[in-house]
Symmetry: D2
Subunit: 354 residues, 4 copies
Amino acid sequence: MTTIRIGIVGLGRLGFIHASNIAFSLKKATLSAVCSLSQDELNHAARELFLPESSCYSDFKTMLASGKIDAVIIASSSAHHCDQVVLALEAGLHVFCEKPMGTTVKECHTIEGAVNKYKDRIFMLGYMRRYDASYRYAKEKIEAGDIGKPVLFRGYSVDPSHAMEGFLNFLPNSGGQFLDMAVHDIDMARWLLKSEPRTIYAMGGSFAFPQFADHRDGDNVAALMQFENDAMVFLLAGRTASHGYNVETEIIGTRATLRIGSVPQKNLVEILDSSGVRQECTQCFSERFEHAFIAELQEFVDCILEQRKPEITAYDGTRATEIAVLATESFRENKLIHLTEAVPIDSDGMIVES
Amino acid sequence: MTTIRIGIVGLGRLGFIHASNIAFSLKKATLSAVCSLSQDELNHAARELFLPESSCYSDFKTMLASGKIDAVIIASSSAHHCDQVVLALEAGLHVFCEKPMGTTVKECHTIEGAVNKYKDRIFMLGYMRRYDASYRYAKEKIEAGDIGKPVLFRGYSVDPSHAMEGFLNFLPNSGGQFLDMAVHDIDMARWLLKSEPRTIYAMGGSFAFPQFADHRDGDNVAALMQFENDAMVFLLAGRTASHGYNVETEIIGTRATLRIGSVPQKNLVEILDSSGVRQECTQCFSERFEHAFIAELQEFVDCILEQRKPEITAYDGTRATEIAVLATESFRENKLIHLTEAVPIDSDGMIVES
Amino acid sequence: MTTIRIGIVGLGRLGFIHASNIAFSLKKATLSAVCSLSQDELNHAARELFLPESSCYSDFKTMLASGKIDAVIIASSSAHHCDQVVLALEAGLHVFCEKPMGTTVKECHTIEGAVNKYKDRIFMLGYMRRYDASYRYAKEKIEAGDIGKPVLFRGYSVDPSHAMEGFLNFLPNSGGQFLDMAVHDIDMARWLLKSEPRTIYAMGGSFAFPQFADHRDGDNVAALMQFENDAMVFLLAGRTASHGYNVETEIIGTRATLRIGSVPQKNLVEILDSSGVRQECTQCFSERFEHAFIAELQEFVDCILEQRKPEITAYDGTRATEIAVLATESFRENKLIHLTEAVPIDSDGMIVES
Amino acid sequence: MTTIRIGIVGLGRLGFIHASNIAFSLKKATLSAVCSLSQDELNHAARELFLPESSCYSDFKTMLASGKIDAVIIASSSAHHCDQVVLALEAGLHVFCEKPMGTTVKECHTIEGAVNKYKDRIFMLGYMRRYDASYRYAKEKIEAGDIGKPVLFRGYSVDPSHAMEGFLNFLPNSGGQFLDMAVHDIDMARWLLKSEPRTIYAMGGSFAFPQFADHRDGDNVAALMQFENDAMVFLLAGRTASHGYNVETEIIGTRATLRIGSVPQKNLVEILDSSGVRQECTQCFSERFEHAFIAELQEFVDCILEQRKPEITAYDGTRATEIAVLATESFRENKLIHLTEAVPIDSDGMIVES
């Protein structure tokens, strides 16, 4: 059996999940190296994932040059994604990059350039919803024509309130709700509707946490877009869901409607007590998308072994980022954006504000 | 327009609901007289239902003889049902009798005798579930063959815990859970399955309230019966539902299953909060069957005007009582009862205990 | 008992429902007169509602002058609402007017003027959702602070596909989806959020029926508004729901979320068959709002008897119309509308297009 | 890292699932050998699970003696379980045995004897529901006292209709619905209620497939038991579910009720179309219990490594079998069984029929 030897950089919450999945849940893959700036994280990974010390790296380039790995997972902090993707491709490795692909449109373009240059390398982006069983089931039904012509895509991505305290430290560098949260829904809308936005109008507010306004952000934001095929797209991104991790999608068509996760239930238990009849909910991304995280990495491995490209491309990463940046712009300037107009981009790859 | 002039005896909780429905919600009917032993209840009814003092009676026979009414609703306490039904029929009136028809099988037989004697009078029993929109919808689907051959009928009738305190005063005279609660499910099973029980095995316990055991009853009881068409019937009757008034029915067939009220939701509001995603529940029979109580009286009035018999007969009342008595017997004696054997009935119409 | 004598003009589908409710389901009210241009409708009403011929009118003014009625229900076609409301108020009657109050903002202003002039008369508008048990339950929870600060109001009003054929005849005169369908959601948003819109961006498409585009309308339209309290409002109005009459509302707050009717279930029956586990849905407004139609008329009658004003005012009618007109404008011109800017109104009370 | 080397006997449907899970989804375990009488199954496993030919065995004893394995999974046909368990224990291996532990009570006793003799070996039974996330969640709530005192356990295990054709070949040797299907519910009832049955009354019918009656079995059977703690237990086992693989459990307590899988939904997609609002269902045990099958084997491996006993014992297997045999007896003889009476067992370990 050929197995792909994988290294991972970044052993934070999601990084460790990826590392565990490679070690224990993937077929035809081995966890061969881990890299982190934190010695604690390295020790923890070595112990839990049964790795020898020699497989633990504090320097990314050393890991790339070790000869021990065929592919690398980039799960470091967003600011490093662009450099690390390019370095890894240059080192001849296959690359799986966590979202966001880059923190600016310019970084995205840099990555796209590298991906196009090293065409024989597999490059894949961590938009795990595309590999979630429920989203795939919905996609199949749409492709089969079961819902008729798509009329409305509605996507909610709302983090649970209890995660707010941890988030507030990250707020100044978060890039805003559209880039940080809504990119997944933007990708879902493009994937399921097979079309691109024509207009965007966005808004938001600091309903519970005034700190968001200080960063020109909102604790809840929304956008309405019309796509080129006339389909309407409504997005809500926020951080104050009381019931749990609320990732919910609806696609209304002329013949049927699909809803995914409108009750983000934790499991199959229903409780009847003095509060009524209730279902408890998933409380974080790792609980909701536990199996999708495995499926996406398996797809990455299979693409490498079968020498085929993943469905999701670097362009998808750029596009979701561009749209999120435009939505942020619309929200901050309270204006309607027509995408047919040329979008002025500054030297940092950010949209020039008028 | 011909209207039926109706009198009612009994102005307790359900009696007052019936009186209000006659006064305000029925077509082709008028509330012409009310009768109660309680002057307070009479005053309250007069005021709320806009009745003159002359329409208020403290004596049942006087109301029957008043010439003011064509029909009478019997909503007095169970011990009076038998006498009052017979008196009303003898007085030439149409009769609607609340459940239970009688407190013993013998009383049921007496009523059946009177009903058969006064064949031109309409007699109807207050088994309101037969007039509930959801139960009727299920009945139509079963009749249409949609579920195939019935395999299992499951009926729960569980009162909410918060009603226990009020119930405990009534406990010594309640007749037991099977007679007091499960008769509705027994009627539903016979109505939907169109068959009769062949065997009965019942049991119960005093899970939360030891007082029940003192009266050879249980705060929750259950029975399993097999009907002559092989269909299996499982009943649960109890008084400790924490979430509300839990009347729930399931009919499993070889081709489909129907569930009625498995979430006894109060309304169309769904609440998402720290306890999860939940629906609040109906809390009492008057809330759950609000519209069924109107529909059954409307059917009574329409039967009178159209000179046709209601679907539900005095025999149905007798039969539900008999089966409930047998289930009580099975529970108390912990024995299996075969209904093909002759059932020994004593001079009070109760089954002779072996 | 004092009873209010009510006349009704318009005996179409909704008019007849109102007439029946007055005749049979209201307390302290009598149906004393009906008026229609159609002799068939008059005959039908006389027969079904047990009215003498002398209570049937083909001329509205004759009915007003008959001395038989204290109040009038306006359920005629929209074009007549304004004139009839004014005539009825001038005749000294209390008035209940079906939605839309007027077909133009100017008509709304005319009605508001008359209502203000005849202050001792009760005037009420037929926004029945305000009297639906589920919407009232949600309102109480919001007022009690249970959901915290409102973040998003989402309202869908989508007619079932099977009603399309009938609607197409009416399309040329419908006023468009925002005026015809979304006004209910606009009223709900104002009622539940207690705020007014600051910006509106609307869009739509002819996804299944190109005829809509011919009338500058869409078979499905959507709008995103931000209200003055920052709350965001998303509306969808359409006519292609495959599963039934889809009136669905969600109010997301910082502490809890409420959903009303997200499954517009027909009854309490759940069906398990080869298509899965399913609930059938309500198919028309009269089924979904059967009891709200009674409750709103009862409130009208009670307001008259108790000499108090209904919660809903003529201004609410004007405002919902204005907002619907602005949404229509935004959709047709593909532009963002800021409501803080003065809105230019032409001599017909329509917004002047720039 | 120490890893447990596992061999498996039986590569049918469930055997292959176990083999794949060991190969790809377990931590600290390796699939080291497979055994089957079918060369096709061996070839298929070798190819899909990347096993060398030398790891494939057609003889069970040869595999046991190979020195390649520390533990063995018994997933062969039921008739071989008893012999293979004993042989494996004698060979010094840890044993995981699929349900049923034995086909007779006598076989169960033989296994219990061997397990008790080889106390240092881990023995575990494949009652996977105990390792399903939803059942475990329910168990925790019950242990925490959240539901109060248990009143009723209701367990349904109904195979989908579409599986009937395949089943009919197996019918003559199936042992009947109680042994074949209801044992899982019997185990769940004992596990969740922590009590044992005192009485059993069972029944059944051949509602759709007369063939079952020929084998003194039913296509649907039911039983009502009372446990020693008074809790009531209702079981339904069948093979004609139209909507899917219907494994559904309810535990009603004096303070709350838990339902597990009352809608056995396939995924998080809800479909709104002309049949209403629906969820599609899981269609087989491997879909519903996909993750439980992994979790139980992981527990087996962890028990071996940590030298601790699994929660489920050989006695649990014997007890579930005994109760299923008694239920079968009650059904066939149409009699109530009191478990306090001595149960006469014949020389095959089957209950002596009176």
